[in-house]
Symmetry: C2
Subunit: 295 residues, 2 copies
Amino acid sequence: MQIVHQIESLRQLIKANRAANPAVRIGFVPTMGFLHRGHASLLEAARKECDVVILSIFVNPLQFGPNEDLERYPRDEERDMAIARETGTDIVFFPQVSEMYPKPTRTMVSVSGVTERLCGASRPGHFDGVATVVTKLLNIVQPDKAYFGMKDAQQVAVIEQMVYDLNIPVTIVPCPIVREEDGLAMSSRNVYLSEEERRQALVLSAALEEAESLLEARKETISPEQLRQTVVRHIQSAPLADIDYVELLSYPDLAPVDFWGSDERIIIAVAVRFGATRLIDNRILHAPVASLSHS
Amino acid sequence: MQIVHQIESLRQLIKANRAANPAVRIGFVPTMGFLHRGHASLLEAARKECDVVILSIFVNPLQFGPNEDLERYPRDEERDMAIARETGTDIVFFPQVSEMYPKPTRTMVSVSGVTERLCGASRPGHFDGVATVVTKLLNIVQPDKAYFGMKDAQQVAVIEQMVYDLNIPVTIVPCPIVREEDGLAMSSRNVYLSEEERRQALVLSAALEEAESLLEARKETISPEQLRQTVVRHIQSAPLADIDYVELLSYPDLAPVDFWGSDERIIIAVAVRFGATRLIDNRILHAPVASLSHS
């Protein structure tokens, strides 16, 4: 496994790989480090489908708001490298901020529409920062496939929109959410949680699971808003849960769903604070067939 | 010479070229068509330096304002193809609007700083449209070098900034302004001019030339603002000239120059309407060495 810190060294390595085998398939997993089994699943998917697997670790200041957790974002280089090795990663790109932003960027990539709700509303500028750094990384690595976890479902929607609109020559591969045994979605931020917060945070996956069962059992009689409300109530049953949002939208368009209509897939997405820690989770469901009489 | 209308066909052609010769150098000249000797000079530069020369012709709606000349922008496909052939172009990419924008784009690339003055101020949104379509075209063609004319000096500054910020793997090659015998900068829009407007439009190149001579002769005693004013007065001597802007800025930063300081290069850039036709021209000069006593 090679670890490179400079863009130019990475480009040379990739060029050498492409020169050695013009048909080489390069898989790319961009991360902010502090890897968990969710990231490992992305690296494993890339390992299965590609000849060269490249992991990037970069905590991108551009996607953090002024009052967010940039400074305290958790880091563990040693463990990250161990996970990279275990999953058969070939190259780790681990740049400093000064390498990615030698000067403050004057160029921003912005995606509208899919960024207006959910985390786009709660974290202004966040997805501009994500879109811009992912564009930079894709231009540096020029991978055939790039892997993203569905825990950040809106991020996947934003990046797929951007790749489509800008004709970026890459295939985006969304990968399923990986959960702890008890259901909590894997997140680098889970480490912030106190024992009691960690216990109560299970309410997120439980509420989403309940919503799915409810939709299956009562799809003819429950409206989108009623379904959303059951998730809200379920989460509120945890005293430490401070809801940022609970939304039910079409996926991947992320538009409001007032009644079960033509959208095949819906997402129920939640962002909830436990103490200072903001967790997100979601479930993508097949919407019931349109049934206007029950809207 | 091959003419392709579909993105996918173009990608296949380029892929075949790269497969046949992994060291192939691809040169790209993006244009809006109605080619003149200025465009021909870009194609010739690409021909000299590259193995495969690709010309794109696309009148990009995204970079035109609501009251601009999108509808009447001049077109002459036959002559364009003749010029492409004469200059040894290998591939012409000539997409429809529906091919480049199958749906309205939700993703925009924006460059700040260098877009705040000159045409960026006169044409709000123009450079977002340019940056976005150039990003798309660079992603489709993936050239080694891309050629742009210095008549649109601000466009060159915007694209160089964008390529730097987004790590786009391409070398931007700025090419000198090509002029008619009498000094008028080549432009597709010159065709709009009446005979009298055409005659008076010579004031632009004449005023810029005068400014250069003046700077050389009096560089110790003339301030940037005095120099700018001589250009304004010279242009105002043409009765049909309606000045949009005359600015003297640092290049390529495009920041105000209040006194001759550390900027090595300055640009004097003008945009002037003759009737309904808006023409631009510029000259990049070496600024005098700092001489604070004469500011």
